[in-house]
Symmetry: C3
Subunit: 291 residues, 3 copies
């Protein structure tokens, strides 16, 4: 019975990893990414003042992971821009989200039930990207385990890792923080995912790649949907991390919880909060005000 179950899970996982991402999943990825761009304070003004800068930011939000990974592997940062259909689709989404009359498109996709579906679809793309990144790096450097982890990490985190420079494009400069100093949940999950996929690629993890993709996708999708629905920014890793960091790096215990329970300590320097730490509620209100 168990063997059968395992076989079925394996078959299902393999079928799942063979589903094409373009256009449905990619479309969801572009919509959610550019939605996050619109939540950024000041991005609506930039879209009025300089459509070129706004379009470039939108492209960084959609294709940042490809751009950074290509740079890190010594390729052309523009390599992905040869896929005209992807660029055109992302550009159409950017246009509809920022310039659609009556803000109709934005209102539709930011409507919570719709958004939850899109967020879930986006996580399917993220899991695949991490796996593809690790695989690509493995192809280039057979024993470069550090390179595999870094490329998988970058492919999963996307624009977050270069958010300082993406903001600079919009005239915003917040040097006192960055995504590596204050990792948000998706960035952390991408790092752990990249480590898992690297272990799998090195055959140190007794599980097939498609099963790992399926499990990681399910974990990410449920967690992100749950967090989006509850406007939460807590991390399911907080407790384990707190203990591990205490043991390994002597970090004070429960520092992260304190950080969340006593916001006044961090509040005066609000730019310290990264974009994904802000609850969606706050961001939406800001985005509405900006219009």
């Amino acid at each position: 019975m168990e063997v059968l179950a395992a076989l079925n899970l394996g078959d299902f996982a393999q079928a799942f990893t063979k589903v094409g991402l373009f256009p449905v999943f990619d479309l969801a990825y572009y919509i959610v990414s550019i939605l996050y761009l619109k939540y950024e304070p000041g991005s609506v003004e930039v879209s009025r003042r300089s459509p070129v800068a706004s379009w470039l930011c939108a492209m960084l939000y959609c294709f940042g992971s490809y751009i950074v990974a290509d740079i890190l592997l010594g390729g052309s940062p523009l390599d992905y821009f040869q896929h005209n259909s992807h660029i055109l689709l992302a550009s159409a989404v950017w246009y509809l989200i920022f310039y659609c009359p009556l803000n109709l498109f934005y209102k539709c996709v930011a409507f919570l039930p719709v958004k939850l579906v899109l967020v879930a679809l986006k996580e399917v793309v993220r899991a695949r990207k991490i796996a593809a990144g690790v695989h690509h790096a493995h192809h280039a450097y057979h024993h470069g385990f550090f390179i595999m982890v870094i490329i998988g990490y970058v492919k999963g985190s996307g624009v977050a890792l270069i958010s300082n420079f993406e903001q600079l494009l919009r005239g915003v400069w917040r040097p006192e923080t960055n995504e590596i100093l204050n990792m948000s949940f998706p960035t952390k999950a991408s790092l752990y995912g990249a480590i898992l996929f690297t272990l799998q690629e090195a055959h140190w993890l007794p599980v097939s790649k498609s099963t790992l993709i399926l499990i990681f996708t399910l974990f990410m999708a449920t967690t992100k949907v749950w967090m989006t629905a509850r406007h939460s920014h807590g991390s399911p890793f907080a407790l384990i991390e707190s203990w591990v960091c205490h043991l390994l790096f002597g970090s004070p215990l429960g520092s992260e919880d304190n950080h969340h329970h006593h916001p006044p300590a961090a509040a005066p320097s609000s730019p310290l909060k990264t974009k994904e730490e802000l609850s969606d509620g706050t961001r939406k209100r800001k985005a509405k005000k900006a219009e």
Copy 2:
């Protein structure tokens, strides 16, 4: 008769695009570029304090377009530095402009009639660079139309697109603006030129490349000479852009004109003005003070 005229124009255009740029046109390009560097506030102090930093900035001003285009196509940013004669010529210009006794060289080339000729010659180089950039990108990515436009744009704009980082080298940091947020006339013209050359390369424009180079060169040279002579920074595209941006992106009509007519609104935050927006008169006065 018309056919004959067309033939003659075509022949002339082809002859024109076969004229070698080195050394006359390149020399004019280096002189005008490093002249703009000397107009930058603080650059004379930097040339006294750290000749290495000043030389690097001068190289970015002269070869920035090659460096950025090489990075974007995944090549070596230093690739162009293998042309020792070009580097030596640009270095000689840098030395003469910054350290010539009695500031003689600077006074000669900044003398308006001389400068107008040099500015016109510089635009010949710009037009060729855009065409070469689009052609190079077309060679690497046959259907990468976005890549062609971006590479042409970068080749035409040169150091302007990385001015934030060029300033950083001189210890200046102005994150609140950049050349994409506030495009100057040459940057805009490079973008439109890159789009035209891409359309030509894709055979969607019924005109030969040499004719397009000739027309674009004539347009740029006359406009820039006119603007330099009148110390103007208005853009001939302003009216059309204003209407197109209003229709497509909902930008308020005539915003750019207001920006120019009511400077007090922008005046308190003077760093918002990009270097090419400042009239040459102001810059010259600043450069003189600095000495």
Copy 3:
């Protein structure tokens, strides 16, 4: 007699350049580099708050020269990360320096006699890196003398040239200075060394490469040990530089000496001092306070 002496020196130099750097010399390089990272204000807090950011900074300190040189030659910045043993060794040093119980490891390696030996060993690595960088660039660009100098310079200077961006990773941004505007002694020595090695590679210097490596190593090791022992940051080049810069670039004579003798002039803007200009004594005290 003299011929014999020359032969012996040549033999010794050749034997010296054949000694493997891994693991002893590399270990010393990693220890001294990460020691300098710990001296940086705020780096201990970062190591507690975000071990990932701290590890990345440590890697930049250890492998920054490879990363920048790979970028400049159009390769993958992660290329060196395929050497797992080097990365693991550097990571172990990072862990021991930042998280060793009772700070034991730090106290051992920061103990002056130990440190002097490590500093001397580090300079052996620096000299070899410059020679290897120039040789590598020569292989890629046979007549690219500027490229050879730049790559040798970058290989010798390491993280210093990208210190602005390394600091940004730790949430620190000091745009008013950089290593090119205010070159420290090792950076200057790397530049002069890169020029010498380029002249040697172009056969304009009548000396074998191994002899040049030996002489440069001896010069650097004695100078750095002397400077570390005396907590000094003066440069042995100051006098010659002052005269050459006065003649060539019109810099005011003796400006550098004044800078050192009358610190009040520079004191209010303390961030202007680069990290290697601060005496080790000051840094140690700061590092101790931070714990």
